[in-house]
């Protein structure tokens, strides 16, 4: 850095940051919020101009009723929460076994178990499997598919972490006659809290926002999720250019994760980054 640049940097850097925040984030966010308060007529062509009359209450009520927001929210929670808890507990149990057992069988099974980190799930044939099991269009089927999709990532993260936990901790408990179940649940599992948090956050982020696999699995069934309903609402509203309803739905769909992030920001940031740069 030359001396001239060094003198300018403290002034230019904040200006650049504010300009980028404005153009990349604030303006799109502004567009979403004001459009969600406009009348149908004004929202036909979404732009950055203020609405002449504010219709937050009407639009959000209409989006909630037409888009069946409450059942969709309940539906999302009903598949995401069990899927996340399921991948965490099953993933941690499997990761413990893979991390501690040597041998060819263990490495082969571990390889298969983490293959899903790279390999895209076969969205079409999964429907066939679900139909044969009688789970097509059901929440149980959706939970199974999400678990199958994200177990690999969780096993990959947790196995790496378990390898850093000294085996002497387990052996001390074993000397006192603890069974494998007690060793795992009382000694190992509490130590896995940081990596479990990272995994929980990432899987929640992916599963909560998924629409592609939800379409294949839940498409023909009675239950739905928030992104799936956003897709239905938006597909219908785009014909009539009812952008006010689309954006009212976008705001409501986004709130749960934004709230979660603002509560657990530090944990999330350190969780995401610790796994990646090592």
């Amino acid at each position: 850095m030359t001396r001239r640049q060094a003198q300018l940097a403290p002034v230019l850097q904040p200006i650049a940051v504010i300009l980028l925040m404005t153009t990349l984030i604030a303006l799109p966010l502004w567009l979403v919020i004001i459009t969600s308060a406009k009348t149908v007529g004004e929202a036909l062509n979404p732009n950055l101009t203020l609405p002449t009359s504010w219709r937050f209450a009407e639009n959000y009520t209409q989006a909630a009723v037409r888009g069946e927001m409450v059942p969709a929210f309940v539906g999302s929670v009903a598949v995401v929460v069990p899927a996340v808890l399921g991948v965490l507990i099953l993933g941690a149990m499997a990761a413990w076994t893979f991390a501690r057992r040597a041998g060819a069988l263990s490495s082969v099974l571990y390889g298969i178990a983490i293959s899903g980190v790279l390999i895209p799930p076969a969205a079409v044939t999964v429907v066939l499997v679900l139909r044969q099991m009688g789970l097509a269009g059901t929440q149980v089927g959706m939970i199974g598919v999400y678990m199958g999709m994200y177990l690999s990532l969780v096993i990959f993260f947790i196995t790496g972490f378990v390898r850093t936990v000294p085996i002497e901790l387990e052996e001390a408990a074993r000397v006192d006659g603890a069974s494998p179940g007690r060793v795992f649940f009382q000694i190992i599992l509490p130590l896995l809290a940081p990596v479990m948090a990272t995994s929980a956050i990432l899987v929640t982020l992916f599963a909560w926002n998924d629409v592609f696999y939800a379409f294949f699995v839940l498409g023909g069934g009675d239950s739905t999720t928030m992104p799936l309903n956003l897709f239905k609402v938006a597909s219908a509203a785009l014909y009539t250019n009812a952008w006010n309803l689309i954006f009212a739905y976008v705001v409501v769909t986004s709130i749960p994760l934004v709230v979660l992030f603002s509560i657990a920001q530090r944990q999330i940031v350190s969780g995401i980054t610790s796994g990646a740069v090592k």
């Binding site: 940051v17 950055l48 499997a94 079409v124 592609f212 379409f215 992104p227 952008w243 934004v258 610790s274």
Partner: protein, 309 residues
């Protein structure tokens, strides 16, 4: 180790002892539930994906019949396969470049721990949190001919700007890739920031003392040490886009003139019209594309890390 174990060890041959001990202390029963779920919902569908493309499975038939390569014939003869594959690869490379460029740029800009930078990091992370579908609708509204972006450009230039950002069958794929990069730049930024934090301060000091410029310090010291972060970011960008759907669906739906129809859009559309076996054939192509492209690339990037470390 307890005396009991030692006594047991003296009675049994050592190899067998180790194996049986591992079996008792870390029984396979702990891995079985996860393996069952993976077997049913990941492995089995993947295996079936090698069989069903050769059948006439559709919404209109009750019995499956083998039809050989007919499905591959129908998706290649009209050029759908070649086109979808070409668009998907173009899209994946563009997104990898944009997502990493934006992420690294933001990380370098926000490297110092000031209050404004901390605020900005959270702000740039917002698009990561919203659903990709929502991000795509926002982009569509911003990029319409009479949308937000043209409104700003009109105000700045003083004359009406009416560019159809999503209307070109050549350039729209680039615009959508930029939207994808915008959606995920916050995640790439966080990972590059963590990578930059892990660069030892002494190295940068030493570089400064030797009279290196800011650019030289970045190119010669920081950039090589960012290798693990680059691996992670390039890998996630590639896998995310080869397997992408939401952003393209919400911004263009595959248009104009199918010029942004990536593999998953084709699969979604074909499945929706009941042609399951054809959709499955395309899904197999996606699987092979990921295995052929992403796996060797990740192995290469990882080996580069080791050389540099």
């Amino acid at each position: 180790m307890s005396t009991a174990t030692i006594q047991r060890a003296s009675r049994t041959p050592p190899r067998q002892h180790i194996r049986s001990r591992a079996g008792q202390e870390h029984p396979w029963t702990f891995a079985v539930p996860a393996l069952v779920v993976l077997g049913l919902f990941l492995v089995l569908p993947t295996l079936l994906n090698f069989v069903l493309p050769y059948t006439d499975w559709s919404a209109f038939k009750s019995n499956l019949r083998f039809v050989g390569l007919a499905n591959f014939g129908s998706i290649t003869s009209d050029g759908s396969l070649q086109q979808a594959l070409r668009i998907t690869l173009t899209y994946a490379v563009l997104v990898a470049v944009f997502q990493n460029g934006l992420g690294l740029g933001l990380a370098l800009l926000l490297e110092r721990d000031t209050w404004l930078n901390r605020l900005a990091r959270s702000v740039f992370f917002l698009p990561v949190l919203i659903s990709a579908l929502a991000g795509g609708y926002i982009a569509q509204a911003m990029l319409k001919p009479d949308g937000g972006l043209n409104q700003i450009l009109s105000a700045l230039s003083g004359q009406p700007v009416e560019i159809a950002w999503l209307g070109s069958s050549t350039w729209t794929v680039v615009v959508v890739a930029l939207v994808h990069g915008w959606k995920w730049m916050g995640l790439a930024m966080l990972i590059y920031l963590a990578g930059l934090k892990s660069v030892p301060h002494e190295l940068i000091e030493a570089g400064r003392i030797d009279g290196a410029s800011g650019i030289q310090i970045f190119r010669r010291i920081k950039f090589p040490l960012l290798a693990p972060a680059i691996t992670f970011n390039v890998a996630t960008a590639l896998i995310g886009t080869l397997n992408g759907f939401d952003i393209v669906q919400a911004t263009t739906g595959g248009g104009p003139a199918r010029s942004t129809e990536i593999l998953n859009i084709f699969i979604f559309r074909t499945f929706g019209s009941g042609l399951y076996a054809q959709a499955s054939a395309m899904s197999l192509v996606l699987f092979l594309a990921v295995v052929i492209i992403a796996v060797p690339l990740i192995i290469y990037l990882r080996s580069r890390e080791k050389v540099l470390a």
